[in-house]
Every structure is written in C-alpha cells, then in structure tokens.
C-alpha cells in the first residue's frame, strides 16, 4: 500500500548550508498493517509522517501510496489525496474549539469525499464511546474524550492509512491504554493501516512491527513479531 524509497529531507540552516534530517532507503506498510515508529527526539518521526501524508514534500525519493507517487503531485492534489486516503491523529488532539464533537468529525468529512454522512459521524462517535457527548465542544470534554473524538475524526473518511503522532503523550496513564486499544480496534474494523509514533516501550510491545529511526535518520532496525 505504502512504499518509501530513498526519501531524503533537508532543512536550511540559519548559518548557511543545510542539515539532512531524514534519509530513508526503504520503508513499506502493507494494507491493514499496524506498526509503531520509534526514535529519539529530533530523529525526524513527525517529518516522516508529514512526508507520508503529503503535508511536506520530500527533497528526493519516492512516496508511493497505492501506486501514486505523492512527490509528483501538486500541493492541492496532495491535499485531496490526504483527505481521502489518510487520517491524522495529533499529539495535542487539535480539535477545533468552535465545533462540537460531532461537527469536528463532520469537518473531517468536508475535505474528503464531499459527502456529509451524518450517520457515519454519529456511528464513529458511538464506536469511541461518545454517544452522549456528540454535541459537546472540546472545552467541555475530558482529555481522554478529546482524543477519542480526534480518533473518530481521523477515521471519518474511511482512510486507507491512519497516522498517529504520539496520540497518548498528553493522556494520563489510565487513558493511554484505552486510546491504544481504541485505535487498534477501530483500525482493524475499518481495515485501516495504522502507523503510530510513540516513545513508549509498553505500547510498542503491543504491535507486531516496530521501526526505529536513529539520530542519523536512517531506518536502523526492523523488528517483526509473530
């Protein structure tokens, strides 16, 4: 489903020149696969998610998603592609404060296939256990509830791939496992591949596949568990 080949990304330095922060010879994710991406701070994990999602364009290499090379697409084409094919869960949830939980999920649909499937939005919120909080604004929800809304929003367009950037970093330990369980469960149900960035060993152990990014930004180790 997703194949990255020789992907490189550099950023200019204030003092001149540039620094390479990502150099990945190869990385592939199969359809429906659930994997974890680990690495130290500054190793380029978030940049890698942004390149996969098309938010940022790689300097070189290929990002093939279902045969489409995202690096060859224009920015607006990448936006459309992302809206339809991918979901994004952020570390700080990033729910829009002006919108209720239901509206935040519907917002995810707005930029996707253009269908405002209210029943699906409600069903997703129901799946994440927020039947009775649909019309609450984020400020009226607990941290755990906000992250559940974010998961429902990311799945609004039935994406092929869900990118989760440290989704439990701001959640208290009692809710962390619930979020992970939720992500794994709904992704399985929706046949959505999951690529999650995390620092947590306990979370990593729950996934079949873990990839490590080292400080020189190369995929060092692939660990597959049966």
């Amino acid at each position: 489903m997703l194949l990255l080949e020789d992907v490189r990304k550099s950023y200019p330095q204030p003092t001149g020149g540039s620094v390479t922060i990502l150099d990945i010879p190869k990385l592939d994710i199969r359809s429906g696969e659930q994997m974890v991406l680990r690495g130290d701070s500054g190793s380029g994990k978030t940049t890698l998610l942004q390149i996969i999602s098309g938010i940022t364009r790689a300097d070189s290499g290929k990002v093939l998603f279902d045969g489409t090379d995202l690096t060859k697409l224009s920015e607006s084409a990448r936006d459309r592609f992302r809206a339809v094919k991918m979901g994004y869960v952020f570390q700080t949830f990033n729910l829009l404060p002006a919108f209720t939980a239901l509206e935040n999920v519907r917002l995810g649909m707005t930029f996707g296939r253009g269908k405002y499937r209210l029943d699906r939005a409600k069903s997703l919120l129901s799946q994440v256990g927020l039947d009775d909080r649909m019309h609450y604004r984020p400020s009226m929800l607990s941290v755990g509830q906000q992250q559940r809304v974010a998961v429902a929003r990311a799945l609004a367009n039935q994406p092929r791939l869900l990118l989760a950037d440290e989704p439990t970093a701001n959640v208290d330990p009692s809710n962390q496992q619930k979020i992970i369980d939720l992500l794994k469960e709904v992704c399985s149900k929706e046949s959505t591949a999951l690529l999650m960035v995390t620092h947590s060993d306990s979370i990593s152990q729950q996934f079949d596949r873990v990839e490590y990014l080292d400080k020189i930004n190369t995929v060092l180790t692939s660990e597959a568990r049966s």
Binding site: Q50, Y88, N94
Partner: protein
C-alpha cells in the same frame, strides 16, 4: 458541513468580536443610508418647492437669488418694491380698466392693454407684498388668486385645501378687507383658530405692531411647502395698514418726500383707520408690490424682455433653485456622503482588524484543517466567507435600520417638507450602487486575513 457552515461556526465561536464588528458595519451603512435619505429629502423638497405653479417671479432689479428666497421660501429681507402701475402692465385692457375703476388714483391710459398682457393671455399674474410678520412667520399679502389658481405637489396638480374654513376674499361683508388664511404650521405653533384675529408687525422682532387685525377665515392643510410657514393676508387690507402706502417720491432723484403733520394735501379721510372703516381702497399710485408671480406660455421671451428694462427683473424659480442646488446643496451633500463613506471604510477596516487579529490564535486551527485535507484555497474561502457574513449581515442590518428610521420619521418629515418617506423609498439614486459597494469593501477587507490563512505553513503550525 459546507464551507459556509464552517465560517458561520467560527464567527459564532467569537461571538462578541463578531457582533461588535457587525455592529460597526451596520452603523456605517445605516449612517450612509440616513445621509442619503436626508440628502434625497432636501433635494426633493427644494425641487418640490421650485415646482410652484408659476414660471416667473418679477421683482425690482437686484439679486435674483434674494428674490426667489423672498417670494418662494419667505426668507431673507425683502427686495425693493415695484410700482402697482407696473403690475398693471401685465393685465389685459379690461383688467387695467377694472382696476382703475375699482381703486382710483393716478394711472396713465387706463383703457389700454398692459404692455406684457399679450404674454399672459393664457396664464395668470398674482401680486405679492412682503415685509410684515405674524409672530415669527412671514405675512404674505396677496390676492385670493394665490390659492384659487396656484397648485402644489410633485406634479403641481394638488390644489390648496383647507383643514378648516375657506380662502379669504377681497372684500367680505363681515370682515371687510381684513381676512387671513394661515399655513398649517403657523396655526399649530401660534394656537390660532378660525375667527381669531392676527396682527401684522414690522419685522420679526415685532417692534411695531399694526393696530388693525385680520380675522382668520381659513387654515390650510399641510403642503410640505414654505406656505405652511406663512400667514396670508388680503392685500387690500395690507395696503390700508399704517405706513403701507407708497411714499411720495421725487421724480428725478427717486428720494422719498418728507411728509409733515400739517401737510394740507393730507385729509382725515386718507388715514388708514378711516379708509378701513369706510371700506375705501388705497389708490393705484399709493400702491406697491414686492413681487409678481406669473405663469405664461412665453416665459422665456418675456424674461429676456423684462430683464432688459432698468427697474425690474424676471427670474425662473426652477432655474434659480437648480442653481442653488448645484452651487450650495450638492457640494454639502457630497461632503456629507464622503464623510459617511469614510465611516464605512473604517467599518471595513474593523472587519479586517477583527479577523486579522483572530488569525494568530487560529493558525493552529487552520493548520489542522489543512492537515485534514483542506486546500489553501479552501481555507482562503472560509476566511472570505467570514468577512462576507459580517459585511452582508452588517450591511443588511444597517440598510434595514436606516430605512426603518426613515420610515419612522416619515410623518414628521412629510409634515415639514411634504416629501413622503417609506421603508422602500430610495431618495438617492446612487444608493443602489453605494450600498453594494460598501458591502463589497467589507468583503475585500477579508482578503488580507484570508491570505494569511492561505500562507499558513502547516508543518510549522501543527
């Protein structure tokens, strides 16, 4: 959810800022509507008043504007008078003869036609004497023809009608020469009714009040013309008031001759009080008129002829009022309009500032929308929609408010000017493009914050 809904939600979330910005737009547009309505009313009122039913005013040589101010608006100090014999030059042969037989005095060749009589055969002439006041209002001495022949209104088709009573007559059995008709505002302000007596005075300050009074026999319905603010008295009675007989003048110098108490040529019969009681009219040679209102099919030619003479001038009230509008009123109207348009530009800037200020706290939200798949164009449109909603809603509230205020003030405006205002009346033709332009300006004000949203760097803002 569509993009409009997203914009609406964003505005609702910042409801206080949104309401204040919308209010500022509404005030700007409302103010513009009001200024345009007032301008329209002023213009229409002046035009209505210029539509007086006569096409020439003849007075003594001097300022044409002053003559119009005097005769149409009853403002400014009166111009010099014309001899009554000059007025008779506008009457046909039998008219002059009738006047001579009725009034007596000195008139050369009374049997001949007036020199301008041929021009007025299909029209009319109405004399007018000004100079006295009733309270703070002008006393207009004229003939009953003023209300019998003249009309008013937008199409100059409305006859003068009486709320109470009737028109005065030249000589009535009960009141002799001393009858009066009051404009609606005069009667209301001075609390006068039919049968009351009014006394004319010299000057608005009322330094000298004539002993002889005039009986009010009629009160006009409101016309929205300056006639609402005048007291009309019978000219025959006016001439009999003290000091209203034309002074004798030296033929060469034109200076008034000094009259001494022991003048043997003056008899007791000549005193105004005796003349009034004996119902004797002032003779032709003792009479003067301030202005002659004339309607003629040959006004243009006549105006040229009269203006060539050394003592008189003829002015077209419509031309004078049009010139007045162009010289004084329109520049003021434009200045006012420019000021209010600037207010609207300030309102548009307030839209810009309001949305722009919110951008810094919404950068993350915009980045999230982009991450969810919204294109740069999409976020630009959402911000523009926000500006549109504020500008259109504010503009609509301002327009409705301005017109509602005009409709609410309509009875007062109509009573004062005769101009009817309704909710949907557009008195200023430019309103049809000015208001949409103001709304467009508000929308354009949204472009800058929209561009900020457009340029948001998603990777840095998430």
């Amino acid at each position: 959810m569509n993009l409009f809904e997203i914009a609406w939600r964003n505005l609702r979330y910042r409801s206080l800022a949104t309401c204040l910005t919308t209010l500022s737009m509404a005030l700007g547009v409302g103010l513009t509507v009001m200024v345009m309505s007032i301008s329209g009313v002023v213009t229409k009122s002046l035009e209505r008043n210029g539509n007086v039913g006569y096409n020439l005013i003849i007075g003594s040589k001097g300022s044409s504007t002053q003559l119009v101010f005097n005769s149409v608006y009853y403002l400014s100090s009166p111009v010099e008078n014309l001899k009554y014999s000059y007025f008779l030059e506008f009457l046909p042969g039998n008219g002059r003869q009738e006047q001579f037989a009725k009034l007596g005095g000195i008139l050369k060749d009374p049997e001949r036609s007036g020199k301008y009589a041929m021009f007025t055969s299909n029209g009319f002439v109405i004399p007018m004497c000004l100079g006295d006041y009733v309270g703070r209002f002008r006393a207009v001495a004229t003939t009953p023809d003023f209300f019998n022949l003249l009309k008013h209104g937008d199409r100059n088709e409305d006859p003068y009608t009486f709320r109470e009573g009737r028109n005065f007559v030249e000589e009535s059995p009960e009141n002799g020469f001393f009858e009066a008709v009051l404009g609606s505002e005069v009667a209301a302000e001075m609390d006068l009714n039919i049968g009351d007596t009014i006394q004319a005075s010299h000057g608005a300050s009322g330094n000298f009040v004539h002993e002889q009074g005039f009986t009010v026999v009629g009160i006009l319905n409101a016309t929205g013309t300056p006639n609402d603010r005048a007291a009309f008295i019978n000219m025959e009675g006016f001439y009999l008031l003290e000091d209203h007989a034309a002074p004798e003048r030296d033929e060469e110098s034109g200076l008034e001759k000094r009259v001494t108490k022991g003048d043997p040529s003056k008899t007791a019969e000549d005193s105004p009080a005796v003349m009034a009681s004996t119902r004797k009219r002032l003779p032709i040679d003792k009479r003067e008129v301030t202005a002659i209102l004339l309607r003629s099919d040959f006004a243009m030619g006549m105006q040229k002829q009269i203006n060539k003479t050394p003592s008189a001038q003829a002015v077209s009230p419509i031309q004078e009022i049009a010139a007045l509008l162009q010289m004084f009123i329109q520049p003021i109207q434009w200045a006012l309009l420019t000021l209010t348009l600037l207010v609207c530009v300030v309102s548009a800037v307030s839209i810009l500032v309001s949305i722009y200020n919110s951008m810094s706290e919404r950068t993350r939200d915009i980045a999230v929308m982009r991450a969810l798949g919204a294109s740069r164009d999409t976020v630009l449109i959402v911000i523009l929609f926000e500006a549109c909603i504020i500008a259109i809603v504010g503009g609509a509230i301002g327009w409705v408010g301005g017109h509602a205020l005009a409709a609410w003030a309509s009875p007062l405006v109509e009573a004062r000017t005769g101009v009817k205002l309704s909710f949907f009346s557009i008195h200023y033709p430019n309103e049809l493009w000015i208001i949409p332009s103001l709304i467009l300006t508000g929308i354009l004000a949204g472009i800058i914050p929209a561009l900020v949203a457009y340029r948001t760097d998603v990777s840095k803002s998430l």
